[in-house]
Assembly symmetry: C2
């Protein structure tokens, strides 16, 4: 990026050789990387630099990567975040030690000079007659950070000559405040997160809704960072959209969130996941796609996720007694045995599948429409088990019995079907 960088690298090599240390040098095409990733050159250089450092640290089994940020850099970082509208996580600035950080879960990023002002360091360097290499691009005010350094901070010092110290100290206080919030979020995480891995995080929506707004926001922020440790910041609008989505009444809806992540709101789970990730279906009865099973009466059949379908004949007396109790389990049904051709076939839906829902008394409806109407989660529809007899759909478990198979006055033999989870 700068023509003088090779000469500078040689100067560094001389120093390192004299001290008996080892220098590892790498050359990378920042411009190409910036273009391909649609990043500013500054940001592209930052990413390549840190990737290289952490890659080397890993190779050498190092415990930490040390970088030279000063107290002045801290002040600039805080102001930069303020001007970009970051919340507390930005305003608290950089840390002396970060683990985990956006580059590694194992190797710490340390900033031993964060408590020293640039002037103090330059004094130290001058007193010892060191010959520092000064990066001329630090003077170039076309870079946002440099403009801040050379224009904004001197301007703000007209308002308060102690501005830099104040901002630095504010970051120190906010860091501790942020720790309190972080602890609170860790507690909320333990009760609200149902399942998590590197592909998805399943949140209990009722639990999250019961938390204070600040906890909701920070928990969602943490969830995003868990799945996307590399992203630098999550802006307010993203978090706000997520919070609003959580409160939306529509079930099985999705929201394109940020960085290739979506939110999927189901009755009992709010999923944060990448678009391409396959989510587990263990909450519902499912059949492996393309398989077909036969069910005898009496008989049992095992489905995926520990679900079992049980069929048995019951006496009319027992049925009458049972009917007196309201059937609030959508996964059991009583049907007219003599309308069935055995064995009952269990299969997944096929295009054009229709059936006559009990509630519509003879009118037929498309299975796919019914699934939408009755809010079967979209990702569970393809594997949903359908019970058929003679190519006719008898029962869509969890939803409706087909009208022709209902118990009639003249019904003689009654079959009880029940789907249950082991």
């Amino acid at each position: 990026m700068r023509p003088e960088s090779s000469t500078e690298a040689e100067q560094v090599r001389n120093i390192v050789d004299r001290l008996g240390y080892k220098l590892i040098l790498a050359k990378m095409d920042v411009k190409a990387f910036a273009e391909s990733q649609k990043l500013s050159q500054e940001e592209a250089a930052r990413i390549l630099r840190y990737r290289f450092l952490f890659q080397q640290a890993k190779l050498k089994d190092a415990q930490a990567v040390a970088v030279g940020h000063t107290a002045d850099d801290q002040v600039e970082t805080v102001l930069m975040h303020l001007l970009r509208g970051a919340g507390l996580s930005g305003l608290k600035g950089m840390s002396y030690r970060s683990l985990t950080n956006e580059w590694s879960q194992e190797i710490a990023l340390v900033r031993p000079l964060l408590g020293f002002w640039r002037d103090e360091i330059m004094d130290y360097v001058a007193k010892r007659n060191f010959q520092p290499i000064l990066d001329a691009s630090n003077q170039d005010t076309q870079f946002f950070r440099n403009k801040l350094r050379h224009d904004l901070i001197p301007y703000l010092e007209n308002y308060n000559p102690k501005l830099r110290q104040l901002i630095w100290r504010t970051a120190e206080i906010l860091k501790e405040d942020y720790n309190i919030i972080d602890n609170t979020i860790t507690s909320a995480w333990q009760i609200c997160i149902l399942d998590e891995n590197e592909r998805y995080i399943a949140i209990d929506p009722q639990c999250l809704k019961g938390q204070p707004l600040g906890v909701q926001r920070n928990l969602l922020r943490r969830a995003i960072f868990k799945l996307r440790p590399g992203i630098r910041d999550v802006d307010f609008n993203t978090i706000n959209r997520a919070v609003q989505f959580l409160g939306s009444p529509s079930k099985n809806s999705q929201l394109d969130l940020t960085a290739g992540l979506r939110l999927l709101l189901e009755e009992k789970k709010l999923w944060l996941t990448s678009w391409e990730a396959a989510l587990p279906n263990q909450d519902w009865p499912q059949l492996d796609l393309g398989t077909e099973l036969g069910l005898h009466i009496p008989g049992k059949v095992n489905l995926a996720n520990g679900w079992q379908l049980i069929a048995k004949n019951v006496s009319n007396a027992k049925f009458q007694k049972r009917q007196a109790i309201t059937n609030d389990d959508p996964f059991q049904v009583w049907i007219d045995f003599d309308c069935l051709r055995l064995p009952i076939q269990i299969r997944t839906r096929q295009s054009g599948d229709r059936f006559q829902p009990f509630g519509l008394k003879g009118h037929s409806k498309k299975i796919s429409d019914l699934m939408v109407d009755l809010k079967i989660p979209q990702r569970a529809r393809a594997g949903w088990p359908l019970l058929c007899s003679d190519e006719q759909i008898v029962w869509v478990p969890g939803i409706q019995l087909a009208y022709p198979y209902r118990i009639k006055d003249k019904t003689i033999n009654i079959t009880h079907l029940k789907l249950k989870r082991g």
Copy 2:
């Protein structure tokens, strides 16, 4: 403060009369108040204004005082706090509704216009042909806030044209973050605060030390605001001094904190109190100053705070058996009955009191020095009960027995003295 204010008041009266409302007008000497209180005129006017408003609200049994702060005022407030080095409690800006506030515990301070920009309000006013009264002093950039409004914010908008919206939104987020911290402090308060009233707050120092640094800071800040609801802000150095003092090893030391408050660190209590407040002495045996009691053997005497002094004779056998167990209760002692002249006198210290501590084997020491050495809390020293016989000090309960009264080989009759709390 402004020559035009009387004319303006008349204009307001006309409007109010036309609407059929009532105007209450007051005139105050801001300059004199500013001088007497050593405040800026701006700050003095603010205090007099709010005092008047809340005083009137109380007289009229009003539920709230409404003021006209706009979204622009919010942005200015946040930036002002940033430039003055406030932490989260400043950066979160003003609230739509504050109860309690620095003026009242019962009457809310509400800011219904906080979500509207000044431009929106001026548009509204123009569309309805209202004739607003504009305060010319709002243009005067000698006031810090006006300088911010007319110089700083336009300057910062060069860096980010959406700056005002960003800062406003940041305040909204920080308010929710602050709520999380506030809830955490409320929980910590319940376990760390031993006693509180309007004169003092007693904190369990071990409990407070066990909290994260951010909790320590915010809890101490809350304690200060509880005793001094009127103060506008507590700066970082004050809080930091308090936290450092909490960690100091010296017992019974004091720290002049802020706003006439001191911290007093005792073995089991950290007191935050005004300098002049008398603290309760209920933790120690105390005698009302100037009283003198007589103790017979066997006998009992009641002291203040539920303490009781009990004397009885014990057999040598029982004493020998008891001695086999280490006496780790400094409030009991065995003495040579035959050295005593009865009744034992119980009195408080007198100037020049000396005695021969058991540990020094015959050498005498000033009672006052001994109390300092053995860390008797300063405020408990004057009322500390001393047991005397024939004007000689026999025992300083909690500290030392006098050497001449010890059990010797030739001792025949043994007296057991015990001080206990009911």
